[in-house]
Amino acid sequence: MARVKFDVVIIGAGKAGSQCAVSLRDEGFAGTIAVFGDEPSIPYDRPPLSKAFLTGVEATEDLVLRAQSVYADQKIDLILDTRVIALDRLNHTLELEGGDEVEFDELVIATGARVRPLPFDGVDLDGVTGLRTIDDAVQLRARLQEADRVVVIGGGFIGLEVAAVAASVFGCTVTLVEALPQLMSRTGLPESAAYVAAHQRALGIDVLLNTPVKGLRGEGGRVAVVVLGDGRELATDVVVYGIGVIPGTDLAESAGLEVANGILVDRTLATSDPHIWAIGDCASYPSVFTAGVVRLESVQNATDQARHVARAIATGKREPYVSVPWFWSDQAEMRIQTAGLTTGFDETVVVGNREDGAFTVLAFLDGRLLGGDSVNASRDHLALRKILGTEPSLWSALLTPLAARAKEFSLREFARNVDSLKASETVL
């Protein structure tokens, strides 16, 4: 049983883990760094798996986050196809699959999440798949090329993106089934969700809301029928499900670290053990943009948190993490972009024109702006990010629902004004 020691060990070679290693070097960290990942491929990007990679426009080499040579040049030990199976907090050691031990001074847990399995029988049938890895996407693409009928279970972003690709690129007959009365119910606002539903329908997708699924039935080992809650049956060739994920908390939990949906960290992103950090999809943290703790699944969250923890480790300074959350989703020609955290809102205002198909839904709580969804309105989205990234005392009393409802209100102009207020503030 071999035993090695690194100054920093990162578990998980995904978006967050890879970024954290590289950022440590950017911050001037000179110690040893190891990144352990259980997937065989070098760290890659997941968003294209339901977009340009699924359609076939992008190839596997386009997904690579950084060339292999970057890790070697920066003296980052990237150890792939190797799962970390235990964490011993007292001795600051990890156990690898195969029995080897690794010692660390600082540990960053970036274990991401895995697809939440369907809660009923039939998941093992041929033709039933979730979507998280390159292998999943390669397999799904092959299925879509051959399929006539596709059922997507779950009206979240991934399900919606897959449905759009299946219908508009592969010409499949697609039914999207969602148990709740609204699409994107976890993060989307009602107005943008309604627009997305209409857009999916315009692509020819049959969108069934308020429709739970009871189970799947196969024929000769292949999926053939999706049985709905009310007994209706949908004949199909392929079932894709996107009903959320299970965050990678197992290691932390068995080591006695606190877990609340994700691995619980404080405002600096440290766990209850000051030398163990958690970032990305696996971490729950108190955000300045909402009440309570949140666990976000986005590129922005993974990379900004990675940089934040790298800086804390490299400099020894522990600061609160305050980056503005943002996210995007592409469905055929439509793009939806969100900024801020809008859960818990009590009022919405639509800026722009819904009929033109380019608008932003702003969400407020007690008259305070929480954030918003922009539909085909990238510049509004960026304006919103700029506003939310500025000290709220400079603008929050000015950007009320009433102000946003005014005919002449423009997010971009407001952002420019906030910018000049900020500039004069710095001068003073």
Binding site: D62, R66, V299, W326
Partner: protein, 106 residues
């Protein structure tokens, strides 16, 4: 294959063969050229692919309005010749392109 030259703040440079139809950002990332991150994968969401175009000079004016706004979020100062390299797609006429990578991307 069209060539791109990446000049870096530390005085070093990389000269790389680009594939037709592939962006200057993606070319840098897949070849391990430092100084370009491309965090959003070329989706005009992140501005971590910022470059200064030195040659040809007219390329700087081909920015779209969205790219223009996104450049506001770049970590290094924006200049007249700033571009987001995920929006520059390589082809034969661009052979000999020279870009400078900024001090910081995020």
């Amino acid at each position: 294959m069209p060539k791109v030259t990446y000049l870096h703040a530390d005085g070093t440079e990389d000269v790389v063969d680009a594939q037709d139809g592939v962006s200057v950002m993606r070319t840098a990332v897949t070849k391990g050229v430092k100084g370009i991150v491309g965090e959003c994968g070329g989706e005009l969401m992140c501005a971590t692919c910022h470059v200064y175009v030195l040659k040809p000079v007219n390329l700087a004016s081909e920015r779209s309005e969205d790219e223009d706004e996104m450049l506001e979020f770049a970590a290094s100062p924006r200049r007249d010749n700033s571009r987001l390299s995920c929006q520059i797609i390589m082809d034969e006429p661009l052979d000999g392109l020279v870009v400078e990578t900024p001090e910081a991307q995020n």
